[in-house]
């Protein structure tokens, strides 16, 4: 296998332009700002070792306390991650359902799809009622043939790697950090896997650089894959498309 072809930039996501105020921009709007991020060091000291308790369920909010704020910031990050995982999970699930893939590519879609769905389930479990609902997706034919699928999967996975990287150091809780680290690591594997199947160098640079929230939202919106504005709170209604 030749892996000499130039890398596909995440810009592949920008084939089509059509601004949709979808799940991602909404979750991004709730993320801590950079200023908050920089100031957090002092707050963390002030908050002391409170972080250990009540993390798993996001319960035990004390409104206004440093702990409540840091928990709120973390949940915003986890929801942002959830939006990205919804996107990926739904993409692979649809690719599997359409059935246009064969051989190693079909295996990649099946295995990676199961991972992304597991990430969705894990994030939803942590976020509980605060989890954003799954938006509706329209993958606009990119799951219909191996070539479009491959190009889109490369772009989605590379973007996911960069987006997680931006968020990791912003996570307050060590518990959530450990989980996000374990997931981003797998996203790196996914990116390399699909790149190799696409015939491009799996690890083209020595460093994966972070992708800002704004840029992530821009890239995802440019795909027009997200077709329905997502409500602030999850509803009991089952989504029209379950990925």
């Amino acid at each position: 296998m030749s892996v000499n072809r130039p890398p596909t930039a995440t810009a592949t996501l920008g084939q089509s332009l059509f601004d949709v105020d979808g799940a991602l921009s909404e979750t991004a709007g709730r993320l801590p700002t950079r200023g908050q991020f920089i100031r957090r060091g002092g707050r963390r000291l002030a908050a002391g070792a409170v972080g250990g308790a009540g993390l798993a369920l996001g319960i035990g909010f004390v409104p206004g306390s440093a702990h409540a704020r840091s928990e709120r910031e973390d949940l915003a990050i986890l929801n942002f991650a959830l939006a990205l995982e919804y996107l990926q999970a739904s993409f692979y699930t649809e690719a599997e359902r359409v059935g246009a893939l064969h051989g190693p590519l079909a295996q990649q879609a099946r295995v990676v799809g199961s991972h992304e769905r597991a990430h969705v389930a894990a994030l939803r479990a942590v976020l509980g009622r605060q989890a954003i609902a799954r938006p509706r997706f329209d993958f606009r034919g990119t799951t219909d043939d191996p070539k479009s699928f491959r190009a889109t999967a490369v772009a989605l996975e590379d973007l996911s790697v960069g987006a997680y990287k931006e968020q990791l150091p912003r996570i307050n809780s060590d518990h959530y950090l450990a989980a996000a680290v374990a997931i981003q690591s797998v996203e790196g594997r996914h990116a390399a896997w699909i790149r190799r199947l696409a015939g491009i160098v799996p690890a083209v640079n020595a460093f994966d650089e972070p992708v800002s929230d704004r840029r992530t939202v821009q890239l995802v919106n440019a795909t027009r894959f997200v077709t329905l504005k997502v409500p602030h709170t999850s509803s009991k209604r089952s989504p029209s498309f379950t990925g």
Binding site: H115, G188, H190, A192
Partner: protein
């Protein structure tokens, strides 16, 4: 290296199951420097003092972790250098060794730079057995890369978030290397939904076969 992988199944991820890595395991491993084969540069202890108030703003623990990670990068760099100089690799495994070897060197120099210029000295490893064919090379690279991924993951909580931002740029590249190596070995590049995190002791245990006579 499936042993390093599986704390999660593909169908179920337990975020609560992500194990925090204990610091004591790291320091315990770092103390007997040299005994394990990843030899840190002369004055690893002295450097801590000398650079305590360096411009880097690293905490003592940051330094310990970065020294450990630099040791892993040193090991990886030596491994790929040995594989290339043995001259037995062909095709994609050769391309893998060239690309990944270059990236590990870049990681090492980034970490050494962070540490204020004090890095690990080259270890004396005998990789002969592992670099004599594409197959043996790919098998060893898979073990090495999977272990390094888990070792980085295990240190994320042990450093300040500021240092994490720096090493996070390396972490996913190690994941890419691991996936590439596994693909070359005919294994699933991403076998589980959530990668394992291991402490320094576990990393050294997993690397034991590669370190061969050095330990």
């Amino acid at each position: 290296m499936d042993g390093v992988q599986g704390t999660a199944t593909q169908s179920g991820v337990d975020l609560a199951g992500a194990q925090p890595t204990r610091r004591d395991a790291l320091t315990r491993w770092l103390r007997p420097v040299g005994a394990t084969g990843v030899v840190f540069g002369a004055g690893a202890a002295g450097a801590t003092v000398a650079f305590a108030r360096g411009a880097s703003g690293l905490t003592h623990r940051d330094r310990e972790v970065l020294e450990f990670l630099a040791g892993l990068e040193q090991l990886e760099s030596s491994f790929y250098a040995a594989a290339l100089s043995a001259g037995k690799l062909t095709g994609e495994p050769l391309q893998f060794a060239q690309t990944v070897g270059r990236e590990e060197r870049a990681h090492l120099s980034d970490l050494v730079h962070l540490l204020g210029g004090h890095g690990p000295s080259a270890g004396h490893h005998r990789f002969d057995r592992m670099v004599k064919s594409n197959a043996s090379f790919v098998a060893a690279a898979t073990t090495l890369e999977d272990t390094v991924v888990a070792a980085y993951n295990g240190q994320a909580e042990n450093v300040t978030r500021r240092t994490l931002a720096r090493i996070a740029r390396i972490m996913s590249v190690e994941s890419r290397h691991a996936a590439w190596a596994r693909g070359l070995a005919g294994k699933l590049p991403a076998p589980v939904a959530v990668d394992a995190a291991i402490d320094a002791d576990a990393a050294m245990k997993a690397l034991h076969p590669l370190l061969g006579g050095a330990s």
